[in-house]
Point group: C2
Chain length 152, copies 2
Amino acid sequence: MMTADARTPARLRHAPSWLINLVSAHSHRLVSDGFAAAGARGYHYRLLAALDEYGPSSQAALGRNTGIDRSDVVAALNELAAKNLIERSPDPSDRRRNIITLTPDGSRHLAELDEVLTGIQNDLLAPLTPSERDQLTGLLTRVIDHHAKSRS
Amino acid sequence: MMTADARTPARLRHAPSWLINLVSAHSHRLVSDGFAAAGARGYHYRLLAALDEYGPSSQAALGRNTGIDRSDVVAALNELAAKNLIERSPDPSDRRRNIITLTPDGSRHLAELDEVLTGIQNDLLAPLTPSERDQLTGLLTRVIDHHAKSRS
DNA sequence: TGACCAACATTGGTGGGACCAACGATAACC
DNA sequence: GGTTATCGTTGGTCCCACCAATGTTGGTCA
């Protein structure tokens, strides 16, 4: 296990990129453990959430909306389809496309994963007060927005 | 590329674990690109930094000090040794151990990577003021400490 | 002293996540 | 109608985190 103990080299201990990595690693462990218990992984959740929010979409659109590579979308959708959580159907108006639809089972599974995830947020940010949590998300959001903009 | 654009599902856009992941992914990209340009990767830096800070160590100690799995330490040290950045010598007082030493080349390389890394910190946190950066590192540190404690 | 257990280095895996290149099929554009 | 772009798909790469097993050596204790 990736230990966050006190014996890390000092130059790393205070580098923001290192701290972020540590927190991210920890949160990733929490999330993937939680998802694994529900038979899912990160890509599955992202795709289901995108389908729920944007409605039936092509695979390419899903890729764009989730930041997942097209090729990885294919694999993850195969896994979701094998569990009847999504359905693939050809788009009659554009024969290159598949239209991906959330099944009722998929919706239920998404709700389940949503619960897992909100539980984890609390776990992760347990030591912070509500206003500190807002501070943290605010700072992170600004960092993200900055880099998103400079890449567009 | 893992896009941080505005079209992510809403439920993800505000989840701290998601934000942390995004920032971590971005920082990881910056770091690994920077390190790759110098012919290194994360594990190499961590090991070199630990050697520099704690002095010659056994591989097991390095693993403990960096949070890297013993088996991954072996592989990374092989790579470092192949570039003459570290040296492996048997510990005369404990024949189970290898004593790993930083070579002069290793020190130089570490200094180089240090520069890369500090440059990246500035890049990563560009949108934040100095006091905001302190806030962020403070919050992250508290999260880390909390979870480190609850695991020991 | 001998049995037993712990620590060490090493091998050889697993899996998730983020990429990239190339292909055939189709659609859109000029 | 020929070029360009998009779509789904295949098949790779790399990094990071982690696990199990093995043979060797050290330490303990009965």
